[in-house]
C-alpha cells in the first residue's frame, strides 16, 4: 500500500490543473436548455482540442490512454476548477464503454471520434412509458426487413435526457416478438434525424427542457446499427448500466468539490446565528467525511480493478452512496442559507432539485438496494 500519488500522477494532475484553471468557463447557462446546450458544446470542443474530453480513451480515438487513477485525478481537477456539467456524458461515459467492448472495428472508428469531438451527441433510449425500473418490460419493436438489409423500429422512449438537443439515440428494442422480458432484445444505434423519428422535449422539475419523448414510426436502420449480437441486447446494455451505476457517471471529484463549496458556504455564513447551530455544523462535517469516504472507497476499488478483480454488482452501493450524499450536501447548504434558500437565483436550490433526481435515475435506489441484497449479500430473489 502506498497512498501517495506517483510522480507521473502528480505531473498529470499539475497539467490538468493548469489548463483547467486557465480555460474553464464560468457562469454558463444550464446545458439542459437550447441556448445553454450550444454554449456547453463550445466548451466540449475546447476540451477535445486540448485532449481533455476523454482522457481515459486510447489516443487514436482522441484520448490520452490515461489509467483509471489518472481519470479520477482529471475528474477531481475538473470539478475543483468549477468545470460545468458534461453535456456529452451519456455518450462518452455510458455508450462509449459498450462500443469499446462490443463494437466492430468499423463501429468504433465511425462512432467514437465523432462522439469525442462533440460532432455526434448521444442520448439514452432505455425507459419507456411502461418500462422504468422494470426495464425488461420494453415494448418498442425492431422488425426485420430482409429485403432492405436492416431493421424497422417502432415504439416510444421517454425521460430521455437532453433528447431534444442530441443527434443520436442508443436504445433497446424487442427484436424477437415471441421472447419475453430480458430475452429477444437488441441494442440499436439510431440517428434522431432518421425518417419516422419524432422528438418532443419537455420540462423537468427545475423547469429546464432536459427531458424528451422519442417516437419511432417504422424507422429504418441498417444492420450496422446493431451493437453486439442480435437478441443479446440485454447483456450488452447491462454492461453499460453497470458502468453508469458505478464510477464513471458520478466520480468522487464532483462531490469533493461540492463538499468544499459547502465548507466555504458555512465559513462565510458562520456569523449568522442560524449557521452557528451545532446541527448545521455537524451536517457540514458529515458531508465532508462522506465525500472523503467515497474518494477512498473509489481508490480501493480502482486498485482492485487494476489487479483484475471484478467489482460488478458492488457498483450499486456506489450509486446509492453518491446520490444520497448529494442530497445531504444540498440539504445542509439550504439549512445554512436559512430564509435565503428560496431565492430564485440561489444555485443551491437549483442543485438540490437536480440532486433529488440522483436516487431516481440510472436505476432507482430501491432497485439498487435489491441488487445489493441479492447479488452482494446473496439473499433470495423471491
Amino acid at each position: 500500500m502506498d497512498l501517495r500519488f506517483t510522480e507521473q500522477e502528480d505531473a498529470f494532475r499539475a497539467e490538468c490543473r493548469a489548463w483547467l484553471e486557465a480555460n474553464v468557463p464560468h457562469g454558463l447557462p444550464s446545458g439542459d436548455t437550447h441556448e445553454g446546450f450550444a454554449l456547453h458544446l463550445d466548451w466540449e470542443r475546447a476540451l477535445f482540442d486540448a485532449r481533455f474530453a476523454v482522457v481515459s480513451w486510447p489516443e487514436e480515438f482522441g484520448g490520452r490512454d490515461a489509467t483509471p487513477m489518472e481519470w479520477l485525478i482529471f475528474e477531481e481537477e475538473y470539478y475543483r476548477a468549477g468545470g460545468p456539467q458534461r453535456v456529452t456524458q451519456n455518450g462518452i461515459f455510458l455508450l462509449a464503454p459498450t462500443v469499446f467492448d462490443y463494437g466492430t472495428p468499423d463501429q468504433r472508428a465511425r462512432i467514437l471520434p465523432r462522439m469525442a469531438r462533440g460532432d455526434d451527441l448521444w442520448c439514452q433510449g432505455w425507459s419507456e412509458p411502461g418500462a422504468g425500473s422494470d426495464l425488461a418490460g420494453i415494448q418498442s419493436k425492431a422488425a426485420r426487413d430482409e429485403a432492405a438489409g436492416g431493421w424497422r423500429l417502432t415504439g416510444q422512449k421517454t425521460w430521455t435526457t437532453r433528447g431534444a438537443f442530441c443527434t443520436h439515440l442508443f436504445g433497446l428494442f424487442r427484436s424477437d416478438p415471441a421472447a419475453e422480458r430480458h430475452r429477444g432484445l437488441t441494442y440499436f444505434l439510431v440517428p434522431l434525424d432518421a425518417e419516422g423519428m419524432t422528438v418532443r422535449g419537455f420540462g423537468r422539475l427545475d423547469g429546464d427542457e432536459g427531458f424528451a419523448e422519442v417516437f419511432l414510426d417504422d424507422v429504418f436502420v441498417a444492420d450496422d446499427a446493431v451493437l453486439g449480437e442480435v437478441d443479446q441486447g440485454w447483456s450488452v446494455a447491462m454492461a453499460t448500466t453497470s458502468v453508469e451505476r458505478g464510477l464513471t457517471l458520478r466520480s468522487p471529484g464532483r462531490f469533493l468539490a461540492a463538499s468544499d463549496r459547502l465548507v466555504d458556504l458555512y465559513r462565510d455564513a458562520a456569523h449568522v446565528a442560524d449557521a452557528a447551530d451545532p446541527t448545521l455544523r455537524d451536517a457540514v462535517v458529515r458531508a465532508y467525511i462522506d465525500a472523503e469516504a467515497y474518494r477512498w472507497q473509489t481508490f480501493l476499488t480502482v486498485t482492485r480493478m487494476t489487479d483484475g478483480d471484478n467489482v460488478g454488482s458492488e457498483s450499486s452501493m456506489t450509486k446509492i452512496f453518491w446520490s444520497e450524499l448529494d442530497v445531504r450536501i444540498h440539504e445542509a447548504a439550504l439549512g445554512i442559507l436559512g430564509p435565503n434558500a428560496e431565492l430564485g437565483d440561489n444555485p443551491w436550490m437549483k442543485g438540490y432539485q437536480f440532486a433529488l433526481s440522483g436516487p431516481i435515475y440510472a436505476g432507482t435506489n430501491e432497485i439498487q438496494r435489491n441488487v445489493i441484497a441479492e447479488r452482494v449479500l446473496g439473499l433470495p430473489r423471491r
Binding site: 500500500m1 497512498l3 506517483t6 477512498w296 480502482v302 486498485t303 438496494r369 445489493i372 441484497a373
Partner: protein
C-alpha cells in the same frame, strides 16, 4: 497510488482469522460474561504464541516491528470474533509505547490503557500495567500502585474499573500521548468494522433460513433494504479505516483527522448494523440465549469508547471549519 494490502499482510490476517474462528466461537465470548475475569482463557496465550500480542514491538523485544498498517486487519478480526480481551489497549496502544514490551509480547504481562480523558479502564483488574496520561504526558502505572473500583459495562465481558494512583512513571511526551490515543481510536474503529461484518453475516444467514408466509424472510424487500443499508455503511467506513492506518504508519501530519473520520464512520456503521441486525432477527435477536446480543453490545461499548462518533466529527470540524 496503490490502495491494497500486501500478500504478507493478508496471510497474517488469514492466520489470525482461522485461529479466532476455531478458538473464539460465540461460546467463548458468552463464557467470558460469567467467568471471573471476563477474558478468553486459552485464546490469549494462542495469540501470544502466534506473535500477535507483541507484533507492534521492535524485533529485539520479541516483536515483529509491525506498524499500525500491519496491525489493522488483525485488529479487525479480533472485532469480528468479539475477542473478550483488551486487545486494542494491549497490542495496539500500549505495546508500541513501552520502553520495553518484551514481557507483554510474550503474553506474560497484560497491558491496558485509558487515554483522552476516558473515565474508566477496561480489564484493569487483570492488568499488570496501565498506560494512561498525567499532566499531558504518557505514563505507566503498575498494578500495585492502582486503587480500583470495579464498574460494569453493557457488554458483560468487558470488566471496567475506576482507577486512582499515587505514583506513575513517564514513558512519553505529549506527542507520544496524542499518537497513543489515535492508535486506540483507530484500533477500536477496526474492531467496529469487524463487528459490523459479523452482525451482517449472522443476519444474512438468519434471514435466508427463517421462513414466514411460506418463504425466507430475506426475500422480502423491506428486509433486503435494511441489510443493504448496513452493507453500504460498512463499505464506505472501511476504506477510511485502512487509509487512516496508512497515514499513521507513514507519519502523515493529518493522520489524527484521518483517524477521526475513520472512527466516526466505523462507530456509525456498527451502530447501524446492530440495529438492522436486531430488526431483521425479530424476537429471536431480542433473546438473551441467541448470540447476536454479544456482538451488538460489544459494538455499543466500542462505539462509545475512544471518542464516540460525535466527538470525532467535532475534531474533524475543528480541522476543516
Amino acid at each position: 497510488m496503490r490502495f491494497a494490502f500486501t500478500d504478507d499482510q493478508l496471510a497474517f490476517r488469514d492466520a489470525v482469522r482461522d485461529l479466532l474462528a476455531n478458538e473464539c466461537p460465540p461460546a467463548v465470548v458468552r463464557a467470558a460474561w460469567d467467568n471471573a475475569d471476563g477474558r478468553s482463557g486459552a485464546v490469549w496465550g494462542a495469540l501470544a504464541e502466534m506473535g500477535v500480542l507483541g507484533a507492534g514491538a521492535p524485533e529485539d523485544q520479541g516483536g515483529l516491528g509491525f506498524t499500525l498498517l500491519d496491525l489493522v486487519l488483525i485488529t479487525e478480526e479480533t472485532g469480528y470474533a468479539a475477542l473478550p480481551e483488551p486487545f486494542v489497549e494491549h497490542a495496539v496502544v500500549a505495546v508500541p509505547a513501552l520502553p520495553d514490551a518484551s514481557a507483554a509480547a510474550a503474553g506474560q504481562q497484560l497491558l491496558t490503557a485509558a487515554l483522552g480523558g476516558a473515565p474508566f479502564v477496561p480489564y484493569v483488574a487483570s492488568a499488570d500495567l496501565l498506560l494512561t496520561e498525567e499532566d499531558d504526558v504518557l505514563v505507566v502505572v503498575s498494578r500495585v500502585g492502582l486503587q480500583i473500583e470495579p464498574e460494569s459495562s453493557v457488554d458483560g465481558s468487558r470488566r471496567l474499573g475506576w482507577v486512582e494512583w499515587d505514583a506513575a512513571e513517564p514513558v512519553g511526551d505529549a506527542v507520544a500521548l496524542a499518537a497513543a490515543f489515535d492508535r486506540g481510536a483507530l484500533g477500536t474503529a477496526a474492531q467496529l468494522i469487524g463487528l459490523s461484518r459479523r452482525m451482517l453475516d449472522l443476519t444474512v444467514d438468519y434471514v435466508k433460513e427463517r421462513e414466514q408466509f411460506g418463504v425466507p424472510i430475506g426475500s422480502f424487500q423491506a428486509v433486503k433494504h435494511h441489510l443493504a443499508d448496513a452493507r453500504i455503511a460498512l463499505e464506505f467506513a472501511r476504506p477510511l479505516v485502512y487509509r487512516a492506518a496508512w497515514s499513521s504508519a507513514a507519519g502523515d501530519p493529518e493522520a489524527s483527522v484521518h483517524v477521526s473520520m475513520a472512527k466516526a464512520l466505523a462507530s456509525d456503521a456498527a451502530t447501524l448494523a446492530a440495529q438492522k441486525a436486531l430488526q431483521c432477527h425479530g424476537a429471536m435477536g431480542y433473546s438473551f440465549e441467541y448470540d447476536l446480543h454479544l456482538y451488538m453490545k460489544r459494538a455499543w461499548a466500542l462505539a462509545a469508547s475512544w471518542g464516540d462518533a460525535a466527538w470525532h466529527r467535532a475534531r474533524v470540524g475543528r480541522a476543516i471549519l
